[in-house]
């Protein structure tokens, strides 16, 4: 199997080359959009944008302070959540339900509504046997556009806060939201959806097809002669699911399903879709702050951690399972992976989806080698900053940047400043809240789950792997990822409720802290750089930032990781 490696490495190298080439044009475009400059799509989109403002009585010129901005953001999110909840509960009487699925039970509806309104897309249900076309294309697909746009409406005002001097206003929430959707998410999603249809992703509103099997097969219930093939408007769902780092699958198998991801080429494009905006935002940040080197310095830190993690994951999966090899079987770890993607296309997706807040999967992380699955878990536990979700990744990373600046300042006796803004107590508080909220949530909830039989009875795999399943679930929920060690039977009232609360905390506490930081930074005076200023846009700072991200993540979670994936890897080698 050694001979496959070279193609995998070429695939990964070409992937990152294409991704890096996209960063500058896409990042510059997004900066232009949010600064209200004329851009490529203005002729087509501007009239629609103005119509939206007129219908919703939005004054485009009027900006607000951070509190008002945050109020609008929470309000919109709350209404969205209620709307999704109602659609789920009343699915049975709503249209576009050819299979006649009943409404979701209340705990599952709560969990799912929170999950989709927080950009998590944790799914305790399986789409093809539970959710109607109306639920998927109306309620869930609406959240696919609105929640990443909300991520943008946190990072953009935070950038403005860094750039503006002695200002009280950080932007107009409604304008930022509308621009994010109309200029960025919708056009790219449309193009990508059309490409996916051309490659075999299905797109129709037909009823499920019953077909005769070429060879009748023996099943548990006797001889089976037919197969029921689900249908649906998948391509339009799939493209924004990935672009918006949402991740909720149309089908239970998510992006491993051949109708969601039929070929190696669609796989390549799908990974590109969820990594493009989070990485490009570093350039948007550089452009808007007039310091593009700062954007590249942050991007470099993200890339180093991501590619390092990917390497470890690839090595573990390509080496394969020694216990299986003892049975006279040769090859890499293919349990829970699709042949068409191979190891390269599977781990690239897995690393990308856990490093962003996407959470779509094209292979089953629960069946990864202990080290491979452990790396996926670690990427989520690092708070998803390499590069993280749309908007949420960069504002969390900027939390780490503030902490890195502050700690470095303490160590070498310089005043902590970032891009001409003094870092003081208030900013440090906000940065700590941004960085630590999800970690506290993961550890507290996992601990509670492991103490209660309601928590442990849902575990599928025995031993340390079972601990990893629980830890992964709360890591995924608290960081709004949504992928799972899917062996955990999480559709229980206990998990539906606790994971729902974890998702709410992990989404809104850091977002509010980031907006508060935007407000306090905007109010500050500009301090011109002096000899006492620590430069934050050179390789030294990039290296320091990497160290800070890893130390915070490692110190918080090393004991838990030690009892889960690390001990399992050691047990496996020892057998």
């Amino acid at each position: 199997m050694q001979n496959f490696e070279i193609y995998d490495l070429i695939e990964i190298a070409v992937f990152f080359a294409v991704l890096l080439l996209l960063v500058k044009p896409l990042g510059a475009y997004m900066a232009a959009v949010f600064q209200g400059e004329r851009n490529l799509l203005s002729p087509a989109v501007r009239p629609v944008e103005r119509l939206v403002y007129r219908l919703a009585a939005i004054d485009e010129q009027k900006e607000t302070g951070w509190k008002r901005y945050a109020f609008s953001l929470l309000l919109l999110n709350f209404i969205l959540m209620i709307f999704i909840f109602l659609v789920l509960v009343f699915q049975g009487v709503l249209p576009l339900n050819p299979e006649g699925f009943p409404g979701f039970p209340l705990p599952l509806a709560f969990n799912t509504a929170v999950s989709f309104a927080t950009n998590t897309n944790w799914q305790a249900y399986s789409g093809e046997s539970t959710a109607s076309y109306f639920t998927q294309t109306v309620a869930l697909a609406l959240s696919f556009f609105v929640t990443p746009a909300i991520g943008l409406t946190v990072i953009i005002p935070l950038i403005r806060g860094i750039v503006r001097r002695t200002a009280t206003q950080i932007g107009n929430f409604w304008v930022d939201l509308t621009r994010g959707i109309l200029y960025i998410l919708l056009p790219v999603a449309l193009l990508a959806a059309l490409f996916l249809v051309s490659q075999g992703v299905i797109q129709n509103f037909g009823g499920y097809r019953q077909v005769d099997l070429a060879q009748p097969a023996a099943g548990a219930a006797g001889l089976l002669t037919t197969q029921t093939i689900p249908m649906g408007p998948v391509a339009s769902f799939e493209s924004i699911k990935l672009l918006g780092t949402n991740g909720g699958g149309f089908f239970g198998a998510n992006s491993a399903h051949p109708y969601e991801n039929p070929s190696p080429l669609t796989n390549f494009v799908e990974i590109l879709l969820f990594l493009a905006i989070p990485f490009a935002l570093t350039y948007t940040f550089g452009r808007m702050s007039g310091n593009t080197r700062q954007g590249w310095a942050i991007l470099a830190a993200m890339m180093v951690i991501l590619i390092g993690s990917l390497g470890a994951m690839y090595w573990a999966e390509e080496a394969g399972n020694p216990l299986v090899h003892q049975q006279g079987i040769a090859g890499p770890n293919m349990e829970g992976k699709e042949v068409r993607f191979g190891i390269g296309g599977s781990v690239l997706f897995a690393a990308g989806t856990t490093a962003t807040s996407d959470g779509a999967v094209n292979s089953m992380h629960d069946s990864y080698m202990p080290l491979g699955g452990g790396v996926a878990l670690l990427l989520i536990l690092l708070s998803e900053v390499v590069p993280g979700g749309v908007g949420s990744g960069l504002y969390t990373m900027l939390g780490f940047v503030i902490i890195a600046v502050f700690v470095a300042g303490l160590m070498i006796g310089r005043t902590p400043e970032f891009l001409g803004k003094k870092i003081e107590v208030r900013e440090m508080w906000m940065a700590v809240i941004i960085v630590l909220t999800s970690g506290i949530s993961v550890l507290v909830f996992s601990g509670v789950a492991l103490l209660l039989s309601a928590g442990t009875s849902a575990i599928l795999n025995p031993g340390p792997h079972g601990l990893t399943e629980v830890l992964y679930a709360f890591a995924s929920g608290s960081n709004n990822n949504g992928s799972a060690f899917a062996g955990l039977g999480a559709n229980t009232p206990f998990y539906n409720f606790t994971l729902g609360v974890a998702m709410l905390l992990g989404r809104f506490v850091p977002a509010l802290a980031a907006l508060a930081m935007a407000g306090s930074l905007a109010a500050k005076k500009y301090v011109p750089p002096s000899v006492g200023t620590l430069p934050t846009n050179n390789p030294t700072f990039t290296g320091w930032l990497i160290v800070v991200v890893i130390i915070v993540g490692a110190l918080t979670f090393l004991p838990a990781l030690g009892l889960g994936p690390i001990v399992e890897q050691l047990q496996m080698i020892g057998r």
Binding site: V52, I229, P262, V324, I329, G336, R340, S367
Partner: protein, 192 residues
């Protein structure tokens, strides 16, 4: 002021509802229907007017005269393998004894059917979707002798069919070389 803001939130959600969940999927559906009707409709395989499934969705072949697909985890109690209504993987962890029971059982079945040498890993592990339509070229070649014997075909004839159904890597480097099991088996039937 608060009331106006609530109204604004509702109005903007309604606008987005129309645009993003009405117009957008409608455009994609329409273009798909006109430009790629077969693909948008599920890549169904038709022969003599009858639909034999989809080339993207695997089927549970088990007869010795057909190439076998990978094990499928859509088959817990009461279900069948390759059930598209229950897509998903086994989610068994790498050190779980249940996983080793499954790979061991699949390996024994292959040995009993006459495969010698190291067994291709994809033939003993279940896929992520449970619907994987493909097997590796090695997995097809490992089964060629059995299929040829059951059908009284020469090794060269079977080999020729496998070669005709090989799908290479996209652009020469993306993904993996593979064979679509349903298409290969339908070609076998057509060849007699």
């Amino acid at each position: 002021m608060k009331l106006a803001e609530i109204k604004r939130a509702v109005v903007i959600l309604v606008i987005f509802l129309v645009l993003l969940t009405g117009v957008y999927p409608a455009v994609v559906t329409l273009v798909g229907k006109i430009a790629f009707p077969g693909k948008a409709g599920g890549s169904l395989v038709e022969r003599n007017g009858a639909v034999y499934g989809s080339s993207l969705i695997g089927q549970p072949f088990s007869d010795p005269k057909y190439f076998w697909p990978r094990p499928s985890a859509t088959a817990p109690a009461g279900r069948m393998p390759y059930d598209p209504m229950a897509s998903g993987g086994s989610n068994l962890g790498p050190t779980n004894p249940a996983l080793l029971d499954e790979t061991g059982a699949a390996a024994r079945q292959l040995r009993d059917s006459g495969v010698s040498g190291p067994l291709p890993i994809d033939l003993v592990t279940s896929s992520a979707s449970g619907l994987d339509p493909d097997i590796t070229v090695e997995a097809a070649e490992a089964q060629a002798a059995r299929v040829g014997q059951a059908r009284h075909m020469s090794a060269a004839q079977v080999e020729q069919l496998i070669n005709a159904h090989k799908q290479g890597r996209t652009f020469g480097f993306l993904g993996r070389e593979r064979v679509n099991v349903l298409e290969l088996n339908l070609a076998l039937d057509a060849a007699g």
